[in-house]
């Protein structure tokens, strides 16, 4: 496991002491305050308890000290406390465990100057737009944010409480890794957190925001949470850093290439979104938080909405091109129907042939899944299936209705897909849609071909309301392929193709069988969905008792 070396800071303590003597009143609380280093050896019994409390608090607020704070700022990063303060409503943060210190007694760690009140993480609870959230924020200025037993214990404490009261946990990760001086204690700490991540999964939303390094075993905590966001240029996620990669596989790779925001949001799919910098990330996280229910016992939030629920969207009547082979942008449809055209897209740069994200309909949070005809014709492949499946399962776990827009020509053929296990991965999306019991509304905008039709929240997988636009074609495959099979070797292929198109390239075959509930004018879509969501708000549906399902992983 990668870890940062702990930098000894003894030599700098003297300077701090002197400045304290010169300006005994200079120490102030707060983020921007001039922080003075405390000579811990001076804290002896003749100081009153009250004074010691004050000193410890001040020391905790100053983290690893002014110089390390400045170094953090020079890297373009904010401190752990600045981040918490920006993330939460003003004055809402209630801190826990400010007095906790690490318990390591090896390698000189027991020395007073190596003890930092609160250790290398800030924990507590607060509010985002008035709603409760638990937060931990790793402090890179203290031992590089490395994870000690005490650090892990602090995180576990807030996670346990978040589980009990039913409130999300947000982790702001900025840590060099394990506290090597503590050895197995640190490893145990990680495992304690992992276990809680797993127990909390599906109970409370868990969000990770990677704001610095996150390497080694540490990466598995974000990986277990529901959403992992990153900050561009200043955050990294990898199992082993470039040096180890070089020594093991002889690959030359930079940190950024190996585990930067671009890699994880576009290539690996490990992270769900990246933001420009710390401030951008934290402000966006506040916005994102408003979409989420506090726990699986709470319904999806409804915010005040100024957008009329019966608004017609005339632009949708022309969005699907007349030529069935021509692409269009599914986001045009999503923006068109969503409240105020607002859509918080998840994984916008990964597996772009499927679009997933959150929006509101008449103020109510919904999850939206849509095939993207603009990219790879909107086909389903390994990556898009996994991306879609994970999103659908999150929505189902947290009572968020799912709206699915279907324009899918099928699963992507080829050896790469078959060898990669498209059968197994495609099954995940099928599984996720089928098991979901939240309200499910599906709109077939154009193609719904083959097995992919079944997968995309079809009526057969307990879709509550399934619509077709007049441009919809529900069929086993496109006309050309179908005719080649049905009329193999026969003449008049063109005529047969025309007949097939006439019969199947329209919404009627599905509508006469009741596989779609109605054929609607595209401009009416928003109005219809808003109305359906109101009806389905009281939907009750349960799956058979089981310990847990066995999703094809």
């Amino acid at each position: 496991m990668a870890a940062l070396k702990v930098v000894r800071s003894g030599s700098r303590l003297l300077n701090g002491f002197q400045s304290l003597l010169n300006n005994p009143r200079k120490v102030t609380c707060g983020v921007a305050a001039t922080v003075t280093k405390h000579p811990r050896w001076y804290c002896v019994s003749h100081l009153s308890v009250q004074e010691r409390i004050e000193r410890k608090r001040k020391a905790a607020l100053s983290g690893g000290g002014q110089q390390r704070i400045e170094a953090q700022h020079r890297r373009g990063k904010l401190t752990a406390r600045e981040r918490v303060e920006l993330l939460l409503d003003p004055d809402s943060f209630v801190e826990y465990d400010m007095f906790v210190e690490h318990r390591c007694s090896d390698f000189g760690m027991e020395a007073d100057h190596n003890k930092y009140p609160g250790d290398s993480v800030v924990t507590g609870q607060g509010r985002i737009n008035g709603r409760l959230v638990y937060v931990f924020s790793q402090d890179f200025t203290v031992f590089g944010g490395s994870l000690s037993g005490a650090h892990a214990q602090k995180i576990c404490k807030i996670m346990d409480q978040a589980m009990m009261v039913g409130a999300p946990v947000i982790g702001l990760n900025d840590s060099g890794g394990a506290r090597i001086q503590e050895g197995v204690e640190s490893l145990a700490g990680y495992a304690d957190i992992f276990l809680r991540n797993v127990m909390a999964s599906g109970v409370i939303p868990q969000i990770s925001l990677i704001m610095g390094p996150c390497a080694g075993g540490a990466v598995y905590s974000p990986a277990l949470t529901d959403f992992t966001f990153m900050v561009k240029d200043t955050s990294y996620l990898f199992i082993t850093g470039p040096d180890v990669v070089k020594s093991v596989t002889n690959e030359d790779v930079t940190q950024e290439e190996l585990g930067g925001a671009k890699t994880h949001t576009a290539v690996s799919g490990v992270a769900h979104k990246a933001f420009e910098n710390d401030i951008d990330a934290l402000l966006n996280l506040r916005e994102f938080f408003n979409f989420l229910p506090l726990s699986n016992k709470d319904s999806a939030p409804i915010t005040e909405c100024h957008d009329p629920s019966d608004r017609l969207v005339p632009g949708l009547d022309t969005v699907v091109p007349l030529e069935t082979t021509k692409a269009y942008d599914m986001l045009d449809i999503i923006h068109g129907i969503a409240d105020e055209r607002e859509f918080f897209e998840i994984m916008p740069n990964y597996a772009k042939n499927i679009v997933v994200g959150f929006a509101r309909m008449n103020g109510r949070t919904v999850g939206i899944v849509g095939n993207q005809p603009k990219v790879a014709s909107g086909c389903l492949d390994i990556n898009s299936s996994v991306k879609g499946a994970r999103f659908v399962r999150f929505c189902d776990a947290f009572n968020i209705p799912i709206i699915t827009f279907v324009d899918v020509p099928g699963f992507l053929p080829g050896t790469a897909q078959e060898y990669g296990g498209i059968i197994r991965h495609g099954a995940k999306l099928l599984f996720a849609f089928a098991e979901a019991t939240v309200p499910k509304i599906t709109v077939i905008t154009r193609k719904a071909y083959g097995g992919a039709y079944d997968v995309m929240s079809s009526k057969h997988l307990r879709g509550d309301v399934n619509y077709a636009w007049p441009s919809a074609e529900v069929a086993v495959m496109g006309a050309k392929g179908a005719v080649q099979i049905i009329f193999r070797g026969k003449e008049n292929q063109a005529e047969a193709e025309a007949e097939y198109v006439e019969k199947f390239a329209n919404p009627f075959p599905a509508a006469v069988r009741g596989f779609v509930d109605d054929i609607i004018q595209p401009s009416m879509t928003r109005k219809r969905i808003c109305r359906d969501l109101e009806v389905l708000a009281s939907k009750k549906q349960a799956n058979p008792w089981k310990k847990h399902a066995n999703i094809p992983l």
Binding site: L86, R131, N284
Partner: protein, 683 residues
Amino acid sequence: SSAFVLGPNCCSSVLQTFDKILIANRGEIACRVMKTCKKMGIKTVAVHSDVDSSAVHVKMADEAVCVGPAPTNKSYLNMDAILEAARQTGAQAVHPGYGFLSENKEFARRLAAHGVTFIGPDTHAIQAMGDKIESKLIAKKAKVNTIPGFDGVVKDAEEAVRIAGEIGYPVMIKASAGGGGKGMRIAWNDEETREGFRFSSQEAASSFGDDRLLIEKFIDNPRHIEIQVLADKHGNALWLNERECSIQRRNQKVVEEAPSTFLDPETRCAMGEQAVSLAKAVQYSSAGTVEFLVDSKKNFYFLEMNTRLQVEHPITECITGLDLVQQMIRVAKGYPLQHRQADIPINGWAIESRVYAEDPYKSFGLPSIGRLSQYQEPVNIPAVRVDSGIQEGSDISIYYDPMISKLVTYGSTRAEALQRMEEALDNYVIRGVTHNIPLLREIITHPRFVSGDISTKFLQEVYPEGFKGHQLSDSERWELLATAVALFVAAQLRSQRFLGNLRVSSSQQEQRRWELSVELEKGVHAVTVSRSGSTYAVDLDGKRVDVSSEWNLASALLPVTVNGTQRTVQCLSRSASGEIDLQYLGTSYKLRVLSKLAAALNKHMPEKVPEDTSSILRSPMPGSVVAVSVKAGDTVAEGQEICVIEAMKMQNSMTAAKTAKVKSVHCNAGDTVGEGDLLVELE
């Protein structure tokens, strides 16, 4: 003003004309013609290209026929297909609109041969006036003032230079067959004459299939004023007053008005009489326009006659009360004119702004394409007429003219019409394409325009460095900053309002006072805001600005009252990280509002370095590459032509921004390029 909103009264007399008319055009003019047809009880047939299958004019028509693929020479200029459509649908007449086949004598002739009435003048008049050289000879004969230095057909660049020398610079070069300003270039020296010759002959060949050119004396600082005429087949002709069309860029009209502030009744009458005499000289029938250049001493010179309905005809309809399309249809059927010259009034004032999908910050407007994701016309404002052929969801494509609409306002006085234009522009919602509303609004509020002190040089003179958007005064800046801040707080407050029982803290009190920071054009201002009801009191730079509104955050239009002044601003976008784009006084401004804390911490955020663009030439618009003049390794001088991009039938020369060696060329002649595509890299 009875024709202002084309009311039923103008067509009330039940008049037997045609049962069915085919409109050989697209977009707003096709829709405009159909409106009158519907009022006259005439069935309509639309023709369209395949990409226009769901266009507004197609939906509006009773029948529609696809006449070919997107390129205009395969569809809207495809005579065979259009004649076949007329035959197939049994249309008795064809209205050609403007552009396309409207001034094509061959089309008129072939229609006649098929027994279909062409709604326009007969072929003789089209031919006579369509040829710029012939038209001037006829004009001279009819005692119409003509421009000095008028000459003949041009064979090559050197002859062009010789002719130009004889006339004396500056000279204007254009295609003989071309209408309007398209293909018109001005040369001030021999070099520019050669360049102008090359461009104009290319454009003439590609747009009109006729590479004849015309060179004539260019009148400096002129006004472009045109007379609308209306004539019947019985030798009667009227002039319907003038239209002032001096506000132009690249010789294309941008803002027009009727009447002109410049003409006195005598000049108007003289111009009108000459226009009518020209019309009579060619036995003109139908509506037509005689264009004049007018100099500062009110001398006027015949420019050309457009033998069709003009784009800017609505302003004439507004002040005269006539429906020109109805008049054209009547005349085409052979009815005599209903009016005498003395019946033609000037009632009030009308102004037309041409709203284009183009970027006004680049050469006063380079085409932009895209999908109109949101679109609302300001038709709720009284005395506003919007002629358009698009709607929300329509695509503005590279194939056709990028005009979105013609926005016309009317008033009993010019000031009233201008006031309404200002309001209409502020309430016009266009999203998804770049548009020229910032420029239009600046023009119509500019002191020179307001006082009527204009010429065709207006834009170059007022914006010698190019258009840069509205320049804020101090008080406007405060207004804008305060509006952004108030909007930010209103949005913040709303994001805390959850409906139903959602475990929101009850002990947390709704905030009443905020300390914020707002950034605009690199200037950061600390502000404090306090709220009472829906009014936000914003303190900034020692000023107090009160902003109130209903704060409907879903509406594209945000009506606000700022220190008592009512305005409509538009919120173009709002991001979670405090960025707010506002369209204010027509121009869009990027602002950023942050809490005091976030603003203080913002200094630690790393600067992200944008791409160095000085050595990179990107396509400023979507279009096709006509020619590439350099290859890798060449050394180019600053200002030297690198390649030519054609878009919307306009050829644009791309020049080097600095003297350097060409590193690599990324385009070839014939390529289609998108906006921002890399064309050439310099070292």
